[in-house]
């Protein structure tokens, strides 16, 4: 075997990038969250004011953001599960086509999807076009776009593959024969689903949920483009690095959001444990 120092040497560049561009900036950012900005000057004095401000003024918005992200992630995971199940157990050879479609949609431009939904849902959009042409409505409907549901729809569409692929990956280990024998023993489909399939996909479900939740809770582009006057915490974080220029407050918002998001993900993975007991 080769001496261990060579291993270390080979991994070193990657680790340096990781430490220099991830650990160091994150720690510095944490430090910044305890400083303050005054008249465009960063004042390096330790204080908790930013966190106090977040707790006092942005708690409501933070909870709202987590709720929206939660709805999106649960939707994405549910849809992803159904899709993965169909691809794995129903579709036979066609399953590879389904997987392929999911992969394509994973890489299909983030901005372009948001933009596409605006084209679909707007007052002169495709759905309204169709509704008007078919005579179902006489005036374009306005409730399709520029509201929280359109943000949920758009982000669920974008995040779907992030939820589906890990679930599909963990379904690979389930043998068809296992489900067949359960069925032969007369188990109803709900029992098969919740006693056999879901427990085995737990890792995939939690991974998918975590990815969707962490991405959606920090999103700010979608509310801007399809949310109308909707604001999520991400919009305020982005604004602290744009027109408001208050890094410390933005940093405190970021870390508060991260902490809350990790707690939610943790809670979700604990919740999934109910499937262990069965």
């Amino acid at each position: 075997m080769t001496p261990p120092y060579r291993s270390a040497l080979l991994v070193a560049p990657s680790l340096l990038i990781f430490i220099g561009l991830f650990i160091a900036p994150t720690l510095y950012f944490l430090l910044v969250s305890f400083w303050r900005f005054e008249s465009y000057e960063l004042i390096r004095e330790f204080n908790l004011d930013n966190y106090r401000e977040v707790a006092a003024d942005y708690l409501r918005l933070g909870i709202y953001t987590l709720v929206i992200a939660g709805i999106i992630s649960l939707l994405a995971v549910t849809l992803g599960f159904v899709y993965a199940y169909v691809a794995r157990f129903n579709a036979g050879r066609f399953g590879s086509v389904m997987l392929f479609v999911a992969l394509i949609s994973l890489f299909g431009g983030y901005l372009m999807k948001v933009y596409a939904w605006r084209t679909i849902l707007g007052m002169e959009g495709i759905i309204n076009n169709a509704l008007l042409a078919s005579g179902i409505v006489s005036e374009p409907v306005t409730w399709l776009l520029y509201n929280p549901p359109s943000v949920v729809l758009t982000l669920t569409n974008f995040l779907f593959p992030f939820a589906m692929l890990p679930i599909f990956a963990s379904m690979q280990s389930i043998q068809d024969s296992e489900l067949e024998s359960a069925r032969d023993l007369g188990a109803p489909w709900t029992a098969i689903l919740f006693d056999h399939v879901v427990p085995r996909c737990k890792t995939g479900i939690v991974t998918g949920f975590a990815l969707c939740f962490l991405i959606s809770c920090g999103d700010w582009v979608t509310p801007v483009l399809v949310g109308g006057r909707m604001t999520m915490l991400g919009n305020l974080i982005a604004a602290q690095f744009g027109e408001f220029l208050n890094w410390p407050l933005g940093a405190a918002m970021s870390f508060s959001l991260l902490a809350a998001a990790f707690l939610v993900v943790l809670a979700f993975s604990q919740l999934m444990r109910i499937f262990d007991a069965r």
């Binding site: 008249s39 003024d57 918005l61 776009l145 744009g242």
Partner: protein, 374 residues
């Protein structure tokens, strides 16, 4: 797959390792083609600009003739210029186009370099009214080359509603869900005109500031689209998503017309605030000479006429004003600038340091965040 907790990576790799049969190998052609077509486009000088969208358009001919590539980043709020410059933009950005009221602040933050007036000979054609603005000179040095001006109007869709009279018309119940509002801190100035009796809408007491923002929050409740730029606002009007706006720009008429929609504007009875956007040279600009040349060219007669006629901007070259077609000339009170100034006013931004009960700029930002948070 042992490292299933690596999530997405695993999923992607997993998909790739277990599924076959989905590739046309010839598709590499496009990537290669794109890479080859990428040959550097001659030796054009690239000038970096952070500013309002559309100001570069009248300069296009000049840029092409002189082999200058303009590299613009568009803003929706002059405050974004401050952020860009103080977060690493100095030394990299050449030009910015802030509202004149932000110039003293930008100078104070040491982000601008004084303009070498000998390189901007066209300054002598600028109407004295605009050169007299106290904010362009600081300690005797010129920091801003005035370019275009206007007063913030209210836009509306004349096909859908009759001409609004007051800024508070946006609160009418029939307009609920049909308002577009620009997401801009200076809305506070407009709101202050409506709900406070402050003489200078940028010098508000804390109570007045709060009242103004409370008003904005009410307007937000009526809003369908919180526009992040004037283009966004024009788009919302053109697509019929909004019929009336809070904050606006004369140029929105043109932007909406490009999309086949007739939009009109009005200056509501409470008054508004005036703005004059300037070309400013950033400190340590990599292309300081070309930046000066562009600022100078922007004041030339042909460019000013293009700006006034083509883009419907308010211009300030006296010779160009005279040659404007009647229609474009009627858009702005060119003959009564003093009167216009009295009515709308060009107000410097709120003070940086506390001054009695007058709210500071930091207070403004904090209050505006409350609006965003609402």
């Amino acid at each position: 797959m042992q490292q299933a907790n690596c999530g997405l990576v695993t999923a992607r790799v997993f998909g790739s390792m277990n599924r076959r049969g989905f590739l046309m190998s010839s598709s590499s052609a496009l990537l290669l083609g794109a890479a080859l077509g990428e040959r550097s486009a001659a030796a054009a000088t690239t000038v970096t600009l952070v500013g309002w969208e559309g100001y570069d358009k009248p300069l296009e001919g000049y840029l092409k003739a002189n082999n200058i590539t303009l590299d613009p980043t568009y803003i929706g709020d002059s405050n974004q210029i401050i952020s860009k410059l103080t977060s690493g933009g100095v030394g990299r950005v050449d030009l910015v186009t802030p509202n004149v009221t932000y110039v003293p602040l930008l100078v104070k933050l040491n982000t601008l370099s004084a303009v070498d007036e000998s390189k901007v000979p066209n300054l002598k054609h600028v109407h004295p009214f605009f050169l007299g603005n106290p904010s362009i000179r600081i300690e005797g040095k010129l920091y801003a080359v005035p370019y275009v001006w206007g007063g913030v109007p209210m836009m509306y869709d004349p096909a859908a509603i009759s001409e609004p009279q007051s800024w508070s018309d946006v609160l009418k119940p029939e307009y609920k869900g049909k308002v577009s509002m620009l997401d801009n801190l200076n809305n506070i100035q407009l709101a202050a005109r409506v709900v406070t009796d402050a003489k200078v809408p940028t010098r508000l007491t804390h109570q007045q500031l709060k009242d103004a923002v409370d008003f904005l929050i009410k307007v937000k409740g009526q809003t369908r689209v919180l526009a992040t730029s004037y283009g966004d606002m024009a788009d919302a009007l053109a697509r019929g998503e909004a019929v009336i706006t809070f904050n606006g720009w004369e140029v929105v008429v043109k932007k909406a017309a490009d999309k086949g929609k007739k939009v009109a504007y009005t200056y509501p009875k409470e008054g508004t605030f005036g703005w004059m956007d300037c070309y400013c040279i950033v400190r340590d600009a990599p292309n300081s000479d070309i930046a000066h040349a562009l600022a100078n060219e922007a004041l030339s007669e042909p460019v000013q006429i293009k700006a006034g006629e083509g883009e419907l901007l308010g211009i300030l070259n006296t010779d160009a004003i005279k040659k404007l077609p009647a229609e474009a000339r009627a858009l702005y009170p060119y003959d009564d600038l003093e009167g216009f100034s009295k009515k709308v006013g060009f107000f410097p931004v709120a003070p940086l340091k506390a001054d009695g009960d007058v709210a500071t700029f930091d207070d403004w930002k904090k209050e505006y965040l409350r609006f965003k948070n609402a």
